[in-house]
């Protein structure tokens, strides 16, 4: 039997629910039953190798994380648009239209590769170099992590 109705999505829902339930059951209910619970202030501190933590960890981060995310989302969307075209490529190739689709695909890819090349050229892809010049714009202490 081939299923063509929505039943094919059933295991997905099950798996997702299973993931949620597993965590809820173990963390919320099971912990009440089997786990000890003796909180004290030192235990509840954030771990900083024994030192008392200073300030919150939720402070400013560097822009390069955002730039990475930015380039990623553009390419993510690009691949999302390319999926259907790539899927039909084979059937189109069999009826002799492969060259046309390939050209369209190549133009599409090249335009985005141009964007990547631009970012490369301007140093947006360098994790360290282009960000060393200039102070932190906010003037606040900044968490350095490399």
């Amino acid at each position: 039997m081939s299923t063509s109705n929505l039943d094919i999505y059933m295991p997905i829902l099950m798996l997702l629910l299973l993931g949620v339930l597993l965590v809820v059951v173990t963390v919320v209910f099971l912990s009440k039953v089997v786990r000890p619970h003796n909180p004290n202030p030192v235990k509840e501190q954030a771990y900083e190798c024994g030192e008392d933590p200073v300030g919150s960890a939720w402070s400013l981060f560097n822009m390069r994380f955002y730039v990475t995310g930015l380039i990623f989302i553009i390419f993510d969307v690009e691949t999302a648009l390319m999926f259907p075209v790539v899927v039909v490529f084979k059937s189109m190739n069999e009826v002799g239209l492969g060259g046309l689709v390939l050209i369209e695909l190549t133009i599409f890819v090249l335009i985005l590769a141009a964007g990547l090349a631009y970012c490369w050229r301007k140093g947006d892809l360098d994790w360290v170099k282009s960000y060393q010049t200039g102070k932190d714009p906010s003037g606040r202490p900044r968490i350095e992590n490399d």
Partner: protein, 384 residues
């Protein structure tokens, strides 16, 4: 339309009569109830099996590392310490559940849930065999990529919710690393989609053959390159060494799950090990022929299915072994090397690969390199 484990099992006599019985009793809802029951059983089996494999993965990792470093490794619980993972699990369950005072309690709860959910979600489309695929979606590849990216968010939220500096840095790094490496991975998957013309894992696997020369990895030079891009990208996406910057022990204590204790930590660990297995399975299915068995032995019979399962698991576990060996062999990358490797090497090469595969398809009419070299030569010599 879409092959599922239900549609496979409905071919067998006992299930067929069971389905007929349900249809008789519940009318139009019969097939749905049938599907529900079978799916439920299958899901529990798959999750259980994968959880076991994940647990065994921790054991295997410790054993292999011990081997490579000339140590004993775990050897107390069970024969050769093989039940060590169960003991670890029980210990995790019994541990106190500590939530830091400044943490965001809601997200601290949500983060492991997201990680586990994302990884479990990917299991739905993994092609264990032609029959034992929970559901072989038309858009399986995209679905896998999409639901898998929940893990990236989970890593970030885990780091964020702890409100600890080590965790925060690990979470930021982890999220940006995971999203970055998604681009070359998806692009190299696209190359395979280009070859097979379908987005379902079953379809892609069936487009290949049982013999190595029929696998997509040896289809043409571009796909050979594409496999390694996929493999490297998968390593980075699952935060495995040498890309384990988010949880780098020597600099970040334990990265984004520093503050997680007990079962919350266990879920993160479980999610990671299952994800590694799933990604290895995906690489095997996309490039290494997946469940295809030589001599067309993998039929629709029980034995055929078992052979297919064997083929799939042997390929996947080989890759899994490779992943573990790599972890204990290679040093960790620096963060700038990590990023430049992704954006300056893998992504441009993957883009080039994609166009190259398209060109190959167009020029050689979709024939593989092997076919061109030997089959055409044989045809020219009059041998059929």
């Amino acid at each position: 339309m879409t092959d599922t484990i239900v549609s496979y099992l409905a071919n067998f006599e006992p299930f067929k009569s069971f389905l007929a019985f349900l249809t008789e009793s519940y009318g139009a809802n019969g097939p749905t109830i049938f599907a529900f029951l079978i799916f439920l059983v299958a899901v529990i089996i798959v999750v259980g099996a994968l959880a076991t494999i994940g647990g065994l993965g921790t054991y295997a990792e410790r054993k292999i590392s011990a081997d490579m470093q000339a140590r004993m490794g775990p050897n107390r619980v069970g024969p050769y310490g093989i039940l060590q993972f169960l003991a670890d699990g029980v210990k995790m369950l019994m541990k106190e559940d500590i939530v830091p005072k400044d943490a965001d309690r809601f997200l601290f709860f949500i983060a492991p849930m997201l990680a586990l959910t994302g990884v479990f979600g990917t299991l739905a489309v993994v092609p264990f065999s032609s029959g034992l695929t929970l559901t072989d979606l038309n858009v399986g590849v995209i679905y896998l990529v999409g639901i898998g990216s929940l893990v990236g968010l989970a890593v970030f939220l885990g780091g964020y919710a702890s409100n600890s500096k080590w965790s925060m840095i690990g979470g930021m790094r982890g999220a940006s690393q995971i999203i970055s490496y998604e681009v070359p991975v998806v692009l190299s998957i696209l190359a395979v989609v280009l070859l097979s013309g379908t987005l379902s894992f079953g379809g892609i696997t069936k487009a290949q053959g049982g013999w190595p020369h029929e696998w997509f990895i040896f289809h043409n030079p571009f796909t050979f390159l594409g496999f390694f891009i996929l493999f490297i990208g998968s390593l980075a996406e699952s935060n495995r060494a040498p890309f384990d910057l988010p949880e780098a022990e020597s600099e970040l204590v334990s990265g984004y799950h520093t503050e997680f204790t007990g079962m919350r930590f266990a879920f993160f660990a479980l999610a990671e090990y299952i994800e590694v297995f799933v990604l290895c399975g995906i690489a095997a299915a996309l490039y290494l022929g997946g469940f295809q068995v030589p001599f067309n032995l993998g039929g629709d019979t029980i034995w055929g299915q078992l052979l297919q399962l064997g083929a799939f698991f042997s390929k996947t576990l080989a890759l899994y072994y490779l992943v573990i060996v790599i972890r204990w062999t290679l040093p960790r990358l620096r963060v700038d090397q990590l990023m430049s490797m992704c954006w300056k090497y893998l992504t441009p090469i993957a883009l080039f690969n994609l166009i190259g595969v398209g060109l190959w398809m167009w020029l050689f009419d979709g024939k593989s390199l092997f076919t061109l070299l030997f089959k055409s030569g044989a045809a020219a010599a009059g041998i059929h």
